[in-house]
């Protein structure tokens, strides 16, 4: 599903985001990405979602060589990668329903089908009764679940999460992780960046550790 081959990312000004990172994540895996802040976790996720392009090496996602992908093709690539952010990135002037519907609207789906799928996704994250609410009126944990519903509503094969539990208390974090576990069970590949080592240790999944832009530890596939 994801294949990094000697990937590096240098920023203008000399800062190194990633240096010679190679790994492979198979379809259906759930993998944690960890490391100190500034270690390159976000950079790695951005390369997969093509928010940034690598400066060296090859990135393959879903059998697609991202290094060669044209800019005009980026939107179609992003539709196959669900992204979850620490700050949720919801549209505060739209209802929960509209926020979750956005990926489907973008891909040109009919209203009936959108409505059905959005309700299913909201039901999954336990927010069906909040569909008409404005995101700003929800708690942090609820907002994050809206973000998750939005990331999975179009049923992408791959979901990326950047510090999804960064602002949540342990109990809510655990709930979010259980939700991820459920998605993984239905076949979604997940790559979750977090520095919450307690939480990861309880999940018993593969862990990639970055240090100063280098991959220093890979616990390997846990099957």
């Amino acid at each position: 599903m994801i294949h990094f081959d000697n990937v590096s990312k240098r920023y203008p000004g000399g800062h190194t985001g990633l240096a010679g990172v190679s790994f492979r994540i198979e379809a259906g895996e759930m993998v944690f990405l960890t490391g100190h802040s500034g270690a390159g976790k976000s950079t790695l996720l951005k390369l997969i979602g093509l928010l940034e392009r690598s400066s060296g090496g090859q990135v393959h996602v879903n059998d697609r060589n991202l290094t060669r992908l044209k800019n005009s093709q980026i939107p179609y690539h992003r539709r196959e990668v669900g992204m979850i952010f620490q700050d949720h990135r919801l549209l505060n002037d739209r209802t929960v329903f509209d926020n979750v519907a956005l990926p489907l609207v973008v891909s040109g789906m009919g209203y009936k089908e959108i409505s059905r799928r959005v309700r299913a996704a909201l039901d999954k994250v336990g927010l069906l009764n909040k569909e008409k609410a404005a995101p700003i009126t929800l708690s942090g944990g609820e907002q994050q679940r809206v973000g998750i519903a939005r990331a999975v509503v179009s049923k992408p094969p791959l979901v990326l999460a950047d510090e999804p539990t960064g602002n949540l208390d342990p109990k809510l974090s655990q709930e979010i992780m259980e939700l991820f576990g459920w998605f993984n069970q239905v076949g979604v590949t997940l790559l979750i960046a977090t520095h919450d080592l307690d939480l990861i240790s309880r999940m018993d999944k593969r862990i990639l550790t970055l240090h100063n832009g280098q991959l220093v530890q890979d616990t390997g596939k846990t099957e």
């Binding site: 379809a27 951005k46 939107p75 992204m83 990926p103 973008v106 009919g110 049923k155």
Partner: protein, 320 residues
């Protein structure tokens, strides 16, 4: 292979015209709704556009009216053929009979010496003074109306030259010189209006472009998020293009209203003036064609202005 990939629900939906239309309609209405959320701001922008458009349109309508008036005078152009003093009324009648057969002449009205005298007496108020004259000093007059195809200033001129060569002729008058001058002036004015319209059209483009630029700035976060989710540039561009279209259209409507009201306001005095000239001239307002052209043109300007702004500013926003 992941289960997700084999899931039939994951098929990328193909192009569906019904959904495409539904989407466009929705975006059009949504951007309209957004504009009505801030009615004052929208109205002010539209009013600026409207005023800018009303000026050239109003001038255009006035010029059209002027042309209608002078056009009417021109096609009614008659040639006054004053016969020599010694030509009698009888000879005049004979001449008119002969000329009636001329291929360029539609009709001839003979004003005999006697009737010319009678008219002069009636209109001039010199009645008593005229009594003292021994003989009638007025010549007989043929008022000649050329056929329609020979009634333009150029073609009528040929007839005038021909009539001037007749032995009975004293003076031939085709009093179209001033109509021609008016026409020339009107043409210059038309050019000026065209230049003005171009400049103000550019101003409208700038106004709309700037409004859309601010709108893009305001919705920076939204654009970023939509891009993250996989929206194409076309998808993101669409609401802004519709916003520009609406601004243009509203501006056009306001321009139409301004022109219509202005015409209504001056039509009273114009009718009075026309009455003084014993003319049934009626000031024409914006006709359907002009109205449709105005609205389509203003909406088109709106679309173009937002297109330029969106092209310049949207690509600069990339998610990070």
């Amino acid at each position: 292979m992941s289960k997700g990939r084999n899931n039939p629900m994951r098929r990328r939906p193909g192009f569906r015209p019904d959904i495409w239309l539904q989407r466009h309609l929705q975006v059009a209405l949504a951007s309209l709704g957004r504009l009505t959320h801030a009615p004052l701001g929208t109205l002010m922008t539209a009013a600026v556009i409207g005023i800018a458009l009303a000026l050239p349109i109003g001038l255009h309508v006035m010029l059209n009216n002027l042309q209608n008036v002078s056009g009417g005078w021109e096609s009614g152009a008659s040639i006054s053929l004053f016969l020599k003093q010694e030509i009698s009324d009888k000879q005049a009648a004979a001449l008119s009979k002969k000329l009636r057969l001329h291929q360029r002449i539609k009709s001839i009205q003979v004003i005999s010496k006697a009737s010319a005298m009678a008219e002069f007496r009636r209109l001039s108020g010199f009645g008593d003074a005229l009594e003292t004259l021994d003989s009638n000093p007025l010549p007989a007059l043929l008022v000649i109306l050329p056929k329609d195809e020979y009634s333009t200033p150029e073609t009528a001129q040929l007839l005038v030259r021909e009539l001037g060569l007749l032995p009975e002729t004293d003076i031939v008058q085709l009093d179209l010189q001033w109509v021609r001058r008016l026409q020339a002036i009107t043409e210059i004015a038309q050019r000026a209006v065209l230049v003005l319209a171009t400049l103000l059209g550019l101003a409208v483009l700038l106004i709309i472009g700037n409004t859309i630029r601010l709108e893009i700035q305001n919705r920076h976060a939204e654009i970023e998020i939509t891009k993250l989710i996989g929206a194409t540039n076309g998808f993101i561009r669409r609401p802004f293009l519709y916003t520009g279209l609406w601004y243009g259209l509203f501006g056009g409507i306001i321009a139409w209203l301004l022109v219509a009201i202005s015409i209504l306001l001056i039509s009273g005095p114009v009718a009075q003036l026309a009455m003084l000239y014993q003319s049934a001239f009626d000031l024409s307002s914006l006709d359907i064609t002009t109205t449709l052209l105005l609205l389509a043109g203003s909406a088109g300007l709106g679309l173009l202005g937002s297109w330029i702004a969106v092209g310049r500013h949207l690509s600069a926003i990339e998610p990070s």
